[in-house]
């Protein structure tokens, strides 16, 4: 009997300690994929609700199985590779589009560190895949790679609309990376660390949330993130009324689907990033005074993070079905003439605040 | 503190090979943009030696130099591409053999 217990003990320890990084990667990737499914349904239902229509409601109760039906449809459709495309790059592009969207999530903390005793041993759980000391630079670096999928797809398709989509996306991404980076610099100045967990810990009380300390930076960051994820009002690379489908005009079947999944994953990552940097991440105001057991506290914090992220996802959908698309010169005008000076002003004010107050 | 099982000269030879490729690119290619990219390749080969020596000598200055090289590269690319676009507007070519008005 004791022998059996010791085996169980070593197996649990192995699962919880040695396997936990891989487990986290597996769980988060799959969670993201499931969330993408939910989001596609939500987008269609909410858009229908905003436009006073019904939306998809035939598959399953209330249309809940619609994403699965969509997935099956995409899987069994013919995978067309047009004759005039650059074959290798054409196949590469959807993969390149998906990778940056997925790997950004590796450094986002979705819960506090937790140390609990299991079998007389203190085990520390980090609710974050990789705790990099340059975490936020990593995000800036990886976020700027998202454009390659679009450029490569646009070029490989060998189609004038795709080409224009790729061209537009490259200019747009470079322009809006700057205000995003400037907004992040102000946050880093306040937290004094590039580690994302430190930035979250820095926003411990409700009034210390960066959205209250950095209102201008928050607005700049949200607008820049909308442009980086190619969502309306900045979806010029795929503007269907002007460019048919932009960079994914020539794509069909699962390759098209991969582009869509990448777009929605980008959205989730962006929403998680906004809540990490500006809304206190996993922080729940006044949680410590409740005196809950540590596991319950942890659970509440993860739920709070999920709720904040979910709220921003709804904002993404809401904005898409409310605002019209910008013209291209308007987009450049906002990026370079309004957001860049405002971002610099924000940094100067924040630096003065940090230095003198 | 463990030691890396790769000796220093591996990195140096890799950097030398990349630098050589960059030089050959500048000499053989006739497209101004590709020549620019070959120059970037050479700058990056030098950056690799800086980082390797920085690790070897336990000195942070190599990283500072890499930082400065990146600044220069960014400035160079911004101005260089602006010049190439301006030339293209006037002559509709980026072929360096066609741009020889001042060459005698």
């Amino acid at each position: 009997m004791e022998f059996l217990l010791s085996i169980i003990e070593s197996v649990t320890m192995f699962l919880l300690v040695d396997l936990s990084p891989y487990l986290k990667v597996f769980l988060i990737t799959n969670f993201l994929m499931v969330m993408v499914m939910v989001l596609t349904l939500l987008e269609r239902r909410i858009s229908a609700w905003i436009q006073d229509r019904h939306g998809p409601n035939r598959v399953g109760p209330g249309g809940i199985l619609q994403p699965i039906a969509d997935g099956i449809k995409h899987f069994i459709k013919e995978d067309i590779i047009p004759g005039h495309v650059d074959r290798f790059l054409y196949i590469l592009a959807p993969m390149v589009a998906m990778i940056p969207a997925l790997v950004t999530f590796a450094v986002i903390p979705f819960g506090d560190q937790m140390t609990i005793p299991i079998y007389d041993e203190l085990v520390t759980f980090k609710f974050q895949i990789a705790d990099l000391n340059v975490g936020i630079l990593y995000i800036v670096g990886v976020a700027s790679l998202g454009v390659y999928g679009l450029i490569v797809g646009g070029f490989a398709s060998n189609n004038k609309y795709s080409m224009l989509g790729g061209l537009r996306s490259s200019a747009q991404m470079i322009s809006y990376e700057l205000p995003m980076g400037l907004a992040i610099v102000a946050v880093v100045l306040l937290a004094g660390s590039l580690r994302l967990n430190d930035i979250v810990v820095d926003q411990s009380s409700f009034l210390h949330w960066n959205v209250f300390r950095q209102p201008l930076g928050f607005i700049l960051f949200v607008v820049a993130v909308f442009a980086e994820t190619n969502r309306l009002p900045f979806d010029l690379p795929e503007a269907e009324q002007e460019l048919v489908g932009g960079y994914h005009t020539e794509y069909s079947s699962m390759k098209f689907s991969a582009f869509m999944i990448a777009e929605y994953t980008h959205m989730i990552t962006a929403a998680a990033l906004i809540s990490t940097l500006y809304l206190g991440g996993w922080q729940v105001p006044g949680l410590a005074s409740l005196g809950l057991p540590i596991v319950a506290e942890q659970l509440l914090q993860i739920l709070a993070f999920a709720a904040k992220t979910g709220f921003f996802l709804l904002v993404f959908i809401w904005v898409r079905w409310t605002l019209p698309r910008f013209r291209y010169d308007q987009l450049m005008n906002i990026g370079w003439r309004k957001m860049l000076p405002l971002g610099l002003l924000n940094i100067i004010v924040t630096a003065a605040f940090v230095a003198f107050v | 503190m463990g030691t890396l099982s790769i000796p220093l000269h591996y990195f140096l030879i890799l950097a030398a090979v990349l630098f050589g490729l960059g030089v050959i690119g500048v000499i053989t290619r006739r497209n101004a943009i590709v020549i620019f990219m070959s120059i970037e390749l050479m700058l990056n080969a030098v950056n690799l030696t800086f980082v390797a020596f920085s690790n070897y000598l336990n000195n942070v200055e190599g990283h500072i130099f890499v930082f400065m090289v990146m600044v220069v590269a960014a400035a160079e690319v911004a101005v260089g591409l602006a010049i190439i676009v301006a030339i293209f507007r006037l002559r509709e070519t980026v072929h360096v053999d066609d741009i020889r008005l001042l060459k005698w």
Partner: protein, 184 residues
């Protein structure tokens, strides 16, 4: 074979293959994509050398900004593929190959001769490449070069904007287009 060695060889082969692609591929867009591959491989080498900050900044600056700018300009200008020259000049590429081998050998042998041999040890873990140490020395000992670098960047920005907004160039190109229209 230790994991570091495998990674080193993987990244080294990727970097050299990317460099060869840049130099040999006639299509400039493919050349640019090969260069992106080289940059990623070099970032891997930097991480092996514990230069985390440099590696991430390298990705953000080179792959994220500079190469996107290159691709934008290539796609904007619609640069055609380079054609290979025939005859004597076509044979020059073998001369170039010989030159490449000679140059690489020269550089690595005469330049780095003193560092050959397995005695030259690199460390696996070090505090040198961290943001803290680079920031400390950048803002104390090297603050003047840092400020000069910022002036250089602003000058480059002004220069790039001036070149693309230059009235002379715009008028000249308009004149040229008008002449072309008359010709047609």
């Amino acid at each position: 074979m230790a994991i570091e060695e495998i990674l080193f060889w993987f990244f080294a082969v990727a970097a050299v293959a990317g460099g060869l692609g840049v130099v040999l591929h006639p299509n400039p867009i493919k050349s640019a994509l090969f260069l992106v591959m080289t940059f990623f491989a070099l970032a891997g080498e930097y991480i092996l050398l514990m230069g985390h900050f440099v590696a991430i900044v390298h990705i953000a600056v080179y792959a994220g900004a500079i190469m996107v700018l290159f691709l934008f300009v290539i796609m904007l200008l619609n640069v055609p593929e380079e054609t290979r020259q025939g005859g004597v000049w076509g044979a020059m590429r073998y001369v170039a190959l010989g030159l490449f081998v000679f140059l690489s050998f020269q550089l690595s042998y005469f330049g780095f001769q003193d560092f050959f041999g397995d005695k030259q040890q690199l460390v696996k873990e070090t505090e040198i490449g961290t943001v803290e140490s680079i920031g400390m020395s950048l803002f104390s000992e090297y603050v003047l070069p840092f400020e000069i670098a910022s002036i250089l960047l602003i000058t480059a920005m002004v220069g790039a904007i001036y070149l693309s907004k230059s009235k002379l160039i715009i008028e000249e190109s308009k004149k040229k287009k008008a002449v072309e229209k008359e010709d047609h």
